[in-house]
């Protein structure tokens, strides 16, 4: 298609240059898999390198205890809950918003789906009831957040901060600040079940990540999310219902919180108003380290997943090495900065070649 310059009355040489550039760009396209890998590896080289370095450190300092497949599964399992929420958060941040209430929504969902009444109903019918309750609570909280932000005009930082306080308060009231233990047969079994030696939770994480990637990069919804975050005015002028879209994004992250709540309930066999305390910062950090712009308009699910893995692996390596929490936290700061700087240098070198 590079010959189609008829009609452009431009001078030949200038056009040739342009055409060459264009041809070069399109030449890569057929080889999609390679292009995909190149672009996503390119954007995330630094992160991948940081993760690898971390693994090398882990393998050297903790040997087999780190490199065992059991340990890899432990890391993945620990990453699963944060990971599912982080995928949802990637959409919120890409859309130019933020959600501080994810931890509280998770707590409320976990409590609501493990109340005596819910468990009773679940026992009488099927544990799927608990799943519905958790997802509905998550989506409901997300809906309130979204409506406040999009139609109430409350900045998302404040709206979700308010939700953080309220949802946790409500979770405490419902649970009477007691840890609610699950004894619905089937529920825990299902989520903690192993398939080919890998737990269902890990599969859920992987599936959510893939679904998130497709949604962000291959669907109208995802493209609109980027548009809404990148230039809301332009999105509006293009006929996108920015407000409705914003609401949907918050509902999406709410759903992710509901799902994560189910996973955490299964893992801990409890619902509790203290679940997910401080989760918001972990999640946002993972998303932002992964290269999603806090100002909106650019999001990377692959980056987010690597971000989550970096944090989980970090804790794992520290624990295997029996480091104190204080040392962990001192080093964690340094490592975060190092990872980001590395990522930057490598990404800029990559784009300039």
């Amino acid at each position: 298609m590079s010959e189609n310059t008829t009609g452009a009355a431009g001078p030949a040489s200038a056009d040739t240059a342009r055409v060459e550039a264009a041809a070069e760009e399109t030449a890569r396209e057929p080889n999609r898999a390679v292009a995909l890998f190149r672009s996503s590896a390119g954007r995330n080289t630094g992160l991948v390198v940081a993760l690898l370095l971390l693994c090398i450190v882990g393998a050297i300092t903790a040997g087999d205890r780190f490199s065992s497949s059991d340990n890899a599964l432990t890391i993945l399992r620990l990453a699963a809950v944060t990971g599912v929420v982080s995928v949802g958060m990637t959409f919120v941040i890409t859309a130019g918003q933020i959600d501080l209430s994810v931890g509280a929504i998770l707590a409320l969902s976990s409590v609501w789906c493990t109340t005596l009444a819910t468990q009773q109903t679940a026992q009488d019918s099927h544990w799927i009831v608990m799943v519905f309750v958790a997802l509905a609570v998550g989506a409901g909280c997300g809906l309130v957040n979204g409506l406040l932000v999009a139609y109430g005009g409350v900045v998302s930082f404040i709206a979700t901060l308010a939700m953080l306080a309220s949802a946790r308060g409500l979770a405490e009231i419902i649970s009477n600040r007691k840890t609610q233990i699950v004894d619905v047969p089937g529920f825990v079994d299902f989520f903690d079940h192993e398939l080919f030696g890998i737990e269902v939770q890990v599969y859920i994480f992987v599936l959510v990540a893939i679904a998130g990637w497709v949604l962000l990069n291959r669907t109208t919804f995802g493209r609109r999310t980027i548009a809404v975050g990148g230039n809301p005015e332009a999105a509006r002028l293009a006929g996108i219902d920015v407000k409705r879209h914003t609401v949907m994004v918050f509902v999406l992250v709410g759903l992710c919180c509901g799902l994560a709540a189910l996973m955490l309930v299964a893992r801990t066999t409890t619902g509790s108003s203290t679940h997910g305390t401080g989760l918001e910062l972990d999640v946002i950090a993972a998303v932002v380290i992964g290269g999603t712009l806090l100002t909106g308009g650019r999001g990377s699910i692959v980056g987010t997943v690597i971000g989550v893995l970096i944090f989980t692996t970090l804790t794992n390596v520290f624990t295997l090495n029996n480091r104190s929490i204080s040392e962990q936290s001192l080093l964690k700061g340094a490592i975060i900065v190092a990872a980001v700087l590395l990522q930057q240098r490598l990404a800029s070198r990559n784009s300039s070649t």
Binding site: A14, T26, R218, A227, G230, N231, R236, L237, A238, G297
Partner: protein, 494 residues
């Protein structure tokens, strides 16, 4: 449209405007900066809701309550401010809001091939549909905007100063496309400050002044330019360039640029400007003129070369150093690079000379406002109040605010990138005279403009830039438009 009234807090932008557009015609909208042209078309596009007035579409009264409603009715708009999402690809921007999809999944291949067709129709098949819009030059982005308007099933196409960032070739291209559309019965509303374009493309003209229709339905062919100018400004103005002084050659060299390069963009640029001299840079869009100015200014880190002002070399890549040495830049994109849109006009004007109004860091705000009002009055900025936010000014008036900033600063060197883009005819003459007056007072001026006429008329000496190299340099008296065009395109005279 009839009796449209639109008020912003404190401003009556439209005070009863009538406009009727017929199928298959190009209807031109004229008016000075701030006359309300953009506001009027935003009402048509459903962006603004008018306080009063009715819009009749196809014989029936309609309410255009949102951009969606307008788009659905078949009204597509290319806005004065670029309205693209920089992070999305060309194809994605074009189909934003009316994506090609099957149950929500993007049909990227179809979108890409349709995009290629659209871009080819606009004569720009070199733009790859997968490229992200943020990496395109302003001109490239304008083309994407146009492709987007064409991608819709359009019955009325509105173009708000589309030619501002385009060079002659591109404009001709655009006109060809517009003629093709009108032949199919599409109605076009065309806004521009360049009257010669109106002559080429327009059928009928409506003139706005201070938010009111002063004339409508004037046939282009029968209305003399002088009358249009009179209608727009309420007075007769001659579109003139100020006279050049005779002897600048004996003045001291103020700006000296030697062997300046920026990797991948331009190479080996030498430039000397004497006190009182105006040097013009001519070239096609994308030739690298903006980058030359920005590199001289320190906003980009030069790869090689030296820049000195009054004989003192400037530190590489430091705007602060350049400003301290007395260099000023009026950037190409005033919204994103020039203005603090939410700040008041006066603080936009004084931002580079703040220290002058400060004693041990404390600002004398009354002094700032006073000085700023003097400048806005002198430059005829409308409305004149200096405490309103810069965002609420029309495009041309915003440009004047940026110029006022450097007037206040008493620069040694002034770098002007497209200083009259989007500026109306009356103000344009004022700006020319202003620039000349500045030069006469000993300032060295460098002007970049895509209008060859402007470069030739304003500058004493012209450098022609082509693909990142200076291909010719001559006093403007030795050049004429066709010669410059040749140089710009072929570079063969060099």
């Amino acid at each position: 449209m009839s009796g449209i009234v639109k008020e912003f807090p404190g401003v009556r932008a439209l005070g009863g405007v009538d406009l009727d557009v017929r199928a298959g015609e190009v209807h031109c909208l004229l008016g000075q900066n701030g006359a309300g042209k953009s506001t009027l078309i935003k009402v048509l596009a459903g962006v603004h809701q008018p306080e009063e007035g009715t819009v009749v579409w196809d014989g029936a009264e309609v309410s255009l309550s949102s951009p969606q409603a307008s788009l659905k009715a078949g009204i597509a708009t290319i806005y004065q401010e670029l309205d693209l999402v920089p992070e999305l690809s060309v194809a994605e921007n074009i189909f934003l809001g009316h994506e090609l999809s099957t149950v929500g999944f993007s049909q990227r291949h179809r979108a890409n091939s349709l995009t290629r067709e659209l871009l080819a129709r606009l004569g720009h098949s070199e733009i790859s549909p997968g490229r992200s819009v943020g990496s395109l030059s302003p001109a490239g982005q304008q083309i994407v905007s146009m492709a987007r308007a064409l991608s819709r099933d359009t019955r009325l196409l509105i173009l708000d100063e589309p030619s501002a960032v385009l060079d002659q070739e591109e404009v001709n291209n655009l006109f060809r496309v517009i003629r093709g559309l009108t032949a199919e019965g599409v109605a076009v509303v065309y806004i521009s400050h360049r009257l010669e374009e109106i002559r080429q493309i327009g059928d009928r003209i409506t003139v706005l002044k201070d938010g009111r229709t002063v004339a409508t339905g004037l046939p282009v062919s029968e209305t003399p330019t002088a009358e249009l100018i009179k209608l727009m400004t309420g007075r007769s103005i001659e579109y003139v360039f100020p006279p050049r002084p005779t002897a600048v050659a004996d003045q001291p060299v103020v700006l000296e640029v030697a062997g300046l390069s920026l990797a991948g963009v331009f190479r080996d640029v030498d430039l000397t400007v004497r006190a009182g001299e105006i040097v013009g840079l001519a070239g096609l869009v994308g030739a690298g003129r903006s980058e030359i100015l920005e590199t001289v200014y320190g906003a980009r880190k030069r790869s090689t070369g030296t820049v000195s002002v009054d004989g003192r070399p400037l530190r590489r890549g430091s705007v602060t150093a350049a400003v301290k040495a007395g260099v000023g830049l009026a950037p190409e994109e005033r919204k994103s690079q020039g203005l603090l849109l939410d700040q008041s006009v006066y603080s936009n004007i004084t931002v580079s000379s703040m220290d002058r109004f400060a004693r041990v860091g404390f600002l004398n705000r009354a002094g700032e406002k006073h000085k700023a009002s003097e400048l806005t009055t002198a430059l005829d900025v409308r409305p004149a109040g200096v405490t309103r936010a810069a965002r609420t000014l029309s495009g041309g008036n915003q440009q004047k605010v940026v110029l006022a900033r450097w007037l206040l600063r008493d620069c040694r060197v002034l770098l002007l990138d497209e200083p009259t883009r989007g500026v109306d005819i009356g103000a344009r003459t004022e700006i020319y005279q202003l620039v000349r007056r500045l030069a006469d007072s000993g300032v060295a001026v460098v002007v970049v403009s895509s209008e060859i006429e402007e470069v030739l008329g304003l500058a004493d000496r012209v450098l022609v830039v082509r693909e990142g190299r200076v291909v010719h340099e001559a006093p403007s008296t030795e050049l004429d438009e066709s010669k410059v065009l040749d140089l710009v395109m072929e570079g063969n005279v060099a």
